[in-house]
Each structure stands twice: as structure tokens, then as C-alpha cells.
């Protein structure tokens, strides 16, 4: 032992930092690779959390998928009113890390709501929603009238 070294808080010395966690190149790549729509969503510091959604259509159904990671099923509300689908809910920040020091806080917590005007009439009683791996997938069967039909034209 060569005597006592001056005491320093270990994390000050040994912590190259979660601050440098993502290297700069990653960060820059991210800037250029993020589509504009994504920026519009992530720069919503004032409006809170706006989960991303996709809408797909085939001949029988409309499909809406929302990215809602880390929710509980009972925290998600889905409603349909006159051709408008509404997805809302609240993601609560957990207090399990109380007293902990925060190094990064990029995740959103709080209420969100997204509404979608459906491009075709659907049968409300047949709508199904599924929540798995943080993705909410809603299947909305079109009404019979809204489905494309083949009309045979008789040529005389």
C-alpha cells in the first residue's frame, strides 16, 4: 500500500457516461434517417405523447395498428363514433425507481389520444382489438355495402 489516494466519487471517475452511450455517429445517423413525419411526432414536447399509427385496408377490413409499448390492457380505450375511431389512454410513470438518479429520460408518460376518420363504413359490433408486444391492432370489418362488388354487365 502506497498510502491513501484521495477519495473521489466512483461514478465521477469511472463513468464515461451513459451520456456518451449512443455514440455521436449513431445520433447523427438518426438525425438524417428519421423521416419528417417522425420528427413531427417526436418534436411534440408540448403536446405530450403521440403514438405512431398505421392504417391498412384490404377488401373486407380496415386495420389500424398503434405502437403503445409498456401499457396494460385496461389502460387502453378504443371507441368508435360515427366513422371516427379513437384510441386513447394513459401510461403511468412508475415510481419503482424513486430516489434513483436519472441518466436518460426519453420515454413519454401521460395521456394520449389519436383519432382516425375511417375511409369506409365499418360494422361496429364486429370490431376486434388485440394488444401484443406493445402493439395494439384493431380489425374493423367493412359493412357489406362498403365492400367492393363485382357487377356483371350484360352486353346485348
Amino acid at each position: 500500500m502506497n498510502g491513501l489516494t484521495r477519495w473521489q466519487r466512483p461514478e465521477m471517475v469511472m463513468w464515461p457516461g451513459f451520456g456518451r452511450l449512443t455514440d455521436l455517429r449513431d445520433e447523427i445517423d438518426r438525425l438524417f434517417e428519421t423521416p419528417l413525419a417522425e420528427w413531427a411526432r417526436t418534436s411534440q414536447l408540448l403536446s405530450g405523447w403521440t403514438p405512431a399509427i398505421d392504417i391498412y385496408e384490404d377488401k373486407d377490413n380496415l386495420y389500424v395498428r398503434a405502437e403503445l409499448p409498456g401499457m396494460k390492457r385496461e389502460q387502453i380505450e378504443v371507441s368508435l363514433h360515427e366513422g371516427t375511431l379513437s384510441i386513447s389512454g394513459e401510461r403511468k410513470g412508475e415510481n419503482k425507481h424513486e430516489g434513483a438518479e436519472v441518466y436518460r429520460a426519453e420515454r413519454f408518460f401521460g395521456r394520449f389520444q389519436r383519432t382516425v376518420t375511417l375511409p369506409a363504413p365499418v360494422s361496429p359490433e364486429k370490431v376486434k382489438a388485440q394488444y401484443q408486444d406493445g402493439l395494439l391492432t384493431i380489425t374493423l370489418p367493412k359493412t357489406e355495402e362498403a365492400k367492393p362488388k363485382r357487377i356483371d354487365v350484360k352486353l346485348s
Binding site: P10, E11, M14, W15, P16, G17, F18, R20, L21, T22, D23, D26, D29, R30, E33, T34, P35, A37, E38, R41, A52, I53, D54, I55, Y56, E57, D58, K59, N61, Y63, R65, E67, L68, P69, G70, M71, K72, H97, G99, A100, E101, V102, Y103, R104, A105, E106, R107, F108, V116, P119, Y131, Q132, D133, G134, L135, T137
Partner: protein, 125 residues
Amino acid sequence: MKATAQRESHLSTNRPPRPEYGAPEVNIFETKDGYVLEAEMPGVSKDGLEVTLEGTELTIVGRRRSEPLPGEPLFRECSPADYRRVFELDPAIDTAKVSAKVEQGILTLTLPKSERVKPRKISVD
């Protein structure tokens, strides 16, 4: 001259050509026992996850295994890219004890500090 050329080609092969990956949003906390890292990876289940530790470098990769929606897209905001992010770890972390779980698209990593760096109370006889 030759050396320069070699070096450049080495650099260019190092760079992935396309944005196959997006960086997931993370929260990181430090408690007295260690660190907790939460990453948002919607669409990733246990089978799509890869967590690797090399020295003090932690890499998390999440591949989307969710079924694509049928039909034609009308509106798209969700990125189809997989997730990847690299972190430099505090050397105080006991890498043998790192544990991971994924629940509804959130990866939670628990990174305990090794016993020798934890604050200890020494009793005085």
C-alpha cells in the same frame, strides 16, 4: 499511399449502407445497487431480442417479429426498421449478473454493481 487507400476501404466497409436500425428511446436510472435501463421496442418479443456484452460495451438489438398488416397501406407512421443501440457501461457493473426481460414491447435490463464497489458499512469493534 497504399496505406491510405486501405484505411478508407476499411472505413467504408465498417459503415452499414442503410438505416436497417432505429435507436429505441430509453430511460436509465441509477440506484445504489446498480442501473436499470428501459428501452421502447414495440413489436419485439423475446425471440427477437439480442443483448450482447463485450467488455464494457452493451449492444441491444430488437427485431420486429410482429405480423405485418394485410392489405394495402393507407397511412404509415410506424417505422419498419429494427432497433439497435450501443451503450458504454460503468466498469463497476457486474456483467455476469446482468438480466433482461421484455414485456409489451419494453425491454428492461437490470445491471447490478459488483459487490466490491457498493457502499459498505464497516463495524467498529
